[in-house]
């Protein structure tokens, strides 16, 4: 609790809120629609993917409420992308601050993550609206959704801390991460229903990815129980805990690396 008080001291909270505020003000600076873009961007992407994959390629016929299922996956994946990409450049981007003032370094990465969380919140409202339009039956399992989002957040936070510290030394990371995210988008069952993959081993491998596990579980809990989850694939075996282990490993590893590098950010940027 004392650690918590120290981390979220009055000064840190004030600075955090001010950094997030600035982030939001600057993000849509000079655009007509402003904040609306936070919602429009994923919606437009959704429309494109929906037209291509659902209307033309006829994917997901076996899954009820497939459009909502698709949108929810896109929103969660977008959150992961946005948070990691923005955090990756956050330390370097705030180099002017880091070189001239003593503030907790992690606050900068943390503020990027909060901005992404706020966007996620807005996008989830859109998802909820679609759920109503689509007459999705809400199960009690929806209560697990927030916990699964926390899992995604912690995974993204670990990666963000690691990448932002690494980016200070190696600027190539920006491009590498972009490619990895692109690959990740297709390795994660976002567009295609998992039933399309018939090879059982491949299905198991796909589920080792915490994003795949989390997105499928979130869909299961909130949209349709037809969503194939890690529990189904491994039939309750202990393997199903591997993704959580990866999340934990990433978080601890990211924090440790960030902490070891933080004191030399000012001179390396």
């Amino acid at each position: 609790m004392r650690l918590f008080n120290r981390i979220f001291s009055k000064q840190n909270r004030a600075l955090l809120s001010e950094l997030v505020r600035t982030d939001f003000k600057l993000r849509y600076q000079g655009s007509f629609l402003g904040y609306a873009w936070s919602l429009l961007r994923p919606l437009l992407l959704f429309v494109i993917l929906y037209v291509v994959f659902v209307r033309f390629l006829k994917l997901g016929n076996d899954i009820p409420h497939y459009p909502v299922y698709l949108l929810l996956g896109i929103v969660v994946w977008n959150f992961f992308t946005e948070m990691t990409v923005q955090s990756l450049g956050s330390i370097v981007g705030r180099g002017d601050l880091i070189r001239k003032i003593r503030i907790p370094r992690w606050l900068i990465v943390f503020s990027s993550s909060i901005s992404a969380l706020i966007n996620l919140g807005l996008n989830l409202i859109v998802v909820a609206i679609f759920m109503v339009i689509n007459h999705v039956d809400v199960y009690g399992t929806v209560l697990f959704a927030p916990l699964l989002l926390v899992e995604v957040y912690l995974f993204a936070l670990g990666i963000s801390l690691f990448l932002s510290a690494l980016f200070v030394k190696f600027r190539d990371i920006g491009y590498i991460w972009e490619v990895m995210l692109q690959a990740g988008f297709y390795l994660t069952p976002i567009l295609y229903p998992l039933s399309r993959i018939t090879n059982a081993t491949l299905q198991k491998l796909i589920f080792m990815n915490p994003m795949a596990q989390a997105i499928q579980d979130i869909r299961y809990s909130a949209v349709t129980h037809k969503s194939i989850t890690i529990h189904h694939i491994f039939d309750g075996g202990w393997y199903m805990f591997i993704p959580y282990g990866i999340v934990l490993l990433m978080l601890v590893g990211g924090l440790t690396y960030f902490k070891s590098q933080a004191s030399s950010f000012a001179e390396n940027i």
């Binding site: 000064q11 004030a14 600075l15 950094l19 600035t22 003000k25 002017d96 070189r99 600027r171 190539d172």
Partner: protein
């Protein structure tokens, strides 16, 4: 120990400087295969610096560009960590070393005030309470809803300064704040410094301005090439700093009325007697220590342009100067033809050791005089000119 605000104990700082900036994975891979040799060159910016700053001191840090003083300040502020040694801070330190940290040109003045305030550790409600005072002090009431990019640099500095002085801390760090802003702003800075000094605040000021050092600081130190040269009273440090530049011998660094040297012997009187044909320069020195190795010199220059017109010293003339005893007064006389054109002139008087490496005293503007009775000329010098027809 209770009266010490900051204790710096054998602090060194080494930077790793990449030869070519290896901020790419390829570069890192190459350097791994090279055994890391090509990647970095280390540069020691500070070497074993130790000093104490007491509570309530107005402490000046001087040194030329690249001497390591800003690095030292950043370590005091906790922005850099020392490679070796330890810094102990007793009290709350301002976290910033510059005004207007984090100012964003795309935000309005008002938004920047809150952002900057948060960086200094103020909550939004505290900032709201202080907001009007800050704006009033900066005299920017009409501009607060404009974007910062539309502010003049002077306005930005005023805004930054009025926020910065709200920072509640025991120890204040200031780096070159005086270098920016117009005369009116500097006056505000000075008033603020005076108030700080009166309140017994601990202040650490890094500056090139010897005037500010002399006026405000109670003690000062000089660093050169990353080493602490001297800690002491303000006058000693100011003179040592000026002496740094005399080694360069670059005329542009010399300001009038300046003096440097170790003070073993000093010019105590100088005058120039002007006749139509001759200039007689009479200089009296006093020795403060026994000196064996001596060299006297003078430079005569145009007062405003600082162009040297005449210069000589005993070594150039092949004269070995007599040794002097402590307390002894010596008068020397230089005689040169009066070839000066009309104008205002000054002489500087110098005394140093025979090798001209150690200066005892160098005094600019030791005597200022005017020549006005010469005939006009477009030449640089104006010696007596004769005219006759050839047969």
């Amino acid at each position: 120990m209770d009266d010490v605000a900051i204790k710096v104990d054998h602090v060194s700082k080494t930077f790793k400087l990449p030869h070519e900036k290896q901020s790419s994975v390829k570069g890192a891979l190459i350097s791994v295969f090279d055994g890391g040799k090509r990647t970095y060159e280390t540069q020691q910016v500070l070497r074993g610096v130790s000093f104490d700053i007491k509570k309530g001191e107005f402490f000046g840090i001087v040194g030329r560009n690249g001497s390591g003083k800003s690095t030292l300040l950043k370590m005091l502020a906790g922005i850099y960590t020392p490679t070796e040694g330890k810094i102990t801070v007793n009290g709350k330190l301002t976290p910033f070393i510059e005004l207007g940290v984090g100012f964003n040109p795309e935000l309005t003045g008002r938004e920047n005030v809150f952002l900057n305030g948060a960086l200094l550790g103020f909550s939004r409600s505290e900032m709201l309470a202080m907001y009007d005072d800050i704006v009033k002090f900066a005299e920017l009431e009409k501009f607060m809803d404009q974007k910062l990019k539309n502010y003049s640099s002077g306005m930005q500095v005023r805004l930054a300064f009025s926020i910065a002085i709200r920072a509640q801390s025991d120890i204040l760090l200031l780096d070159e704040v005086l270098a920016v802003g117009d005369a009116a702003f500097q006056k505000k800075c000075y008033d603020y410094f005076t108030e700080l000094k009166r309140n017994g605040q601990t202040v650490i000021l890094v500056t090139h301005d010897m005037g500010a050092i002399r006026q405000y600081c109670t003690r000062a130190m000089m660093i050169n090439d990353g080493k602490l040269v001297k800690v002491g009273d303000v006058e000693t440090i100011a003179q040592a700093y000026i002496a740094l530049f005399s080694d360069d011998r670059s005329a542009n660094d010399r300001d009038s009325q300046e003096r440097w040297g170790n003070g073993k012997q000093k010019t105590i009187d100088a005058r120039v007697d002007v006749s139509d044909k001759q200039l007689t320069i009479t200089i009296t020195f006093q020795a403060y220590e026994d000196i064996d190795s001596l060299l006297y010199g003078f430079t005569l220059y145009e007062k405003t342009s600082k162009i040297n017109v005449l210069e000589s010293n005993t070594k150039r003339l092949g004269i070995v100067s007599q040794a002097v005893k402590k307390g002894e007064k010596t008068t020397i006389i230089w005689k040169v033809p009066n070839i000066l054109r009309n104008g205002e002139y000054a002489i500087s008087s110098a005394t140093c050791d025979e090798s001209a490496l150690t200066y005892y005293d160098w005094l600019n503007d030791a005597f200022v005089f005017t020549i006005s009775n010469k005939v006009e000329t477009a030449g640089a010098v104006n010696p007596e000119v004769h005219f006759s027809y050839g047969k």
